[in-house]
Symmetry: C2
């Protein structure tokens, strides 16, 4: 392949738990990318019914031939992210007689990655796992941070562990099968990294958005690497999630309100975050941080990614506030928001003036 | 209380995860021993139906009055050590709306400690927990090492995590309600610590066995502290369980064979370990490490603890070998055993000669 398309590597620095993220085309079928990270001969590949027909054979063909490879194929969807699914993985590991030197592979999007990571964290008190994320969102989000877990009927991600992968293999070729709506949803998080911390990256995105949506390999590789690098910096600065890590939630407070009100799944997470970032930009303007031209610029890049800019017609100001008041980031019932001081620099607004917030929620355009 | 009975403290050194083990009478009813280790106001006490009527009220009376204290009372017994029981704890935490700053308390024996530790390790990706072990076995064994988890139909302790407590509170008064058979079973592990690493401690045990079985507070406190200190040294030297930590399994390979053949629960774990240590001593003599007088001495202290010395009448040599061949410590189908070079110094025999082992298993006295 031409050098412009060769895989490149980012190392997430975590002392003895440091690991590489390899990004580029053609990783799935090539054993060189996975062999160094296998703990032993026993490999359990976990994927779902959508991904298995597309990539499971190619992945298995890229494994060294002397391994004991088993597989678990789960149903697809956020509703499968349960303790019961993780117990299925444990059952399969025990039925296969796999020991502490086995390796779990998560082949799929964020749901698969979260479940397999937790299965690995708890099997025989912790075994190796490798992430092979196949959606843009999971490639730029779950690749860094070590969060694993499942949902409980009473709350998302309530049961889980911090558990780092041995390696993350991002094969950009897998994005060719991703529905364009999900590609756009992933781009929302990519744009977020530029907005909160790196105006140069935002400029780069503005110039390359067409290339990204056309799935040009070098553009995708660069966007994924820079996104992961920014997330790794933020996480390293705040592993315990007390301070700067909150900046990763730009657009998420408004976005979660949309997802919760509309029912999870009606809007994709990234779509809701796209609108949420546009709302956060407008809020930042009303608090005199951003100029109107900054808001226009931010709306333009969100729009160019194929994301919606308007909130759901059915949501009133009170609908937003009802969910936002329950946000875990709030302290003493004041609503906290991640806002922008400038394009490329986010901050946490500790006490958003109620009048300003309600004005925004009343005025903001609906679909 | 007289100074000879005041609680004493051992610190388990694990860097930023270091924690104290407080040992002595009267800890349960006294808030000074628990207050420094509470993460916040939310406290979930988990215990079982045997321990709750004996100690739950006393424990709760020893908590500061401004806390939000809830409780879960599970059935008693090894058969309850399942993922379903842990899920009950998670359900209770979520129903109470407990957040990441809650504290779980394990009030009971090893089964409760293992389950509550795992529940804490996985709730919201990890919360604080405090061990309050009420059996001698859990006081000298589960207090050190950070192993938590549950059984799976296909194997013991297959699902779990390494998760350290904030503190361990050993109230020696709780041993007054322990059946004497369980006290003896706990003493088997205490004797083990002397045999593998500390002949001075073994001499002390030989002199104080009557005091221990009569539940004299100062003797119990000393035996528990020295046992925990030896285990902490061994674990610190080998956190990943590759080498010296195997020495903690003295007597356990023979013992597990007895437990597995007789059905778990028919023999207490410590009873099987007692016979197992006597068998390991005899095996060590047959390999010319120990003198006959050493074997007699070891048998005498096991006997003085109220433990059996003879293997079950129904177990043939082949019954032992069938289980021992499956032991996780074996490498390439050779049977590995922890044996004694001298009284107070254990080693791992990598390849026990088959003829010697079979001779022992045929000759060893049965009940």
């Amino acid at each position: 392949m031409p050098p412009s398309q060769a895989p490149r590597t980012l190392t997430v620095e975590l002392g003895e738990r440091s690991y590489p993220i390899h990004v580029g085309p053609g990783l799935l079928g090539d054993s060189r990318w996975i062999q160094p990270y296998l703990a032993g001969r026993q490999v359990m590949v976990v994927t779902n019914e959508t991904i298995a027909p597309l990539y499971l054979d190619r992945f298995k063909q890229g494994l060294p031939s002397d391994l004991d490879v088993r597989e678990v194929v789960l149903p697809d969807g956020e509703h499968t992210k349960t303790l019961e699914s993780v117990a299925c993985i444990w059952d399969a590991l025990l039925a296969a007689g796999f020991n502490r030197r086995c390796t779990l592979v998560a082949l799929g999007g964020g749901v698969i990655g979260d479940m397999v990571g937790y299965a690995a964290a708890s099997y025989q008190r912790g075994v190796a796992f490798i992430q092979v994320p196949t959606t843009l969102l999971s490639q730029v989000d779950s690749s860094v941070g070590g969060k694993t877990g499942v949902n409980h009927p009473r709350g998302k991600n309530m049961i889980g562990a911090f558990w780092q992968p041995r390696a993350v293999l991002v094969d950009t070729d897998t994005l060719s099968s991703l529905p364009s709506r999900e590609l756009s949803a992933g781009l929302a998080e990519v744009i977020k990294y530029g907005l909160i911390r790196d105006v140069g990256f935002l400029e780069w995105l503005e110039a390359r958005m067409t290339s990204l949506r056309e799935l040009q390999t070098d553009a995708l590789r660069e966007a994924i690497l820079r996104s992961c690098a920014i997330k790794a910096e933020v996480v390293a600065a705040d592993e315990t999630e007390q301070g700067v890590r909150a900046l990763l939630n730009l657009g998420h407070t408004f976005g979660h309100a949309i997802e919760a009100h509309q029912g999870y799944g009606a809007w994709l997470h990234g779509e809701a975050v796209g609108v949420g970032m546009a709302m956060a930009a407008e809020m930042s303007r009303r608090l005199d941080w951003l100029a109107p031209s900054d808001v226009s610029r931010i709306r333009a890049v969100i729009d160019a990614a194929g994301l919606p800019l308007s909130a759901p017609a059915s949501m009133t100001s009170d609908d937003f506030l009802a969910v936002m008041r329950l946000d875990k980031k709030n302290i003493d019932s004041r609503i906290r928001l991640v806002l922008l001081q400038t394009v490329g620099c986010a901050y946490v607004e500790e006490a958003v003036p109620n009048a300003s917030l309600e004005g925004l929620l009343v005025d903001y355009p609906r679909i």
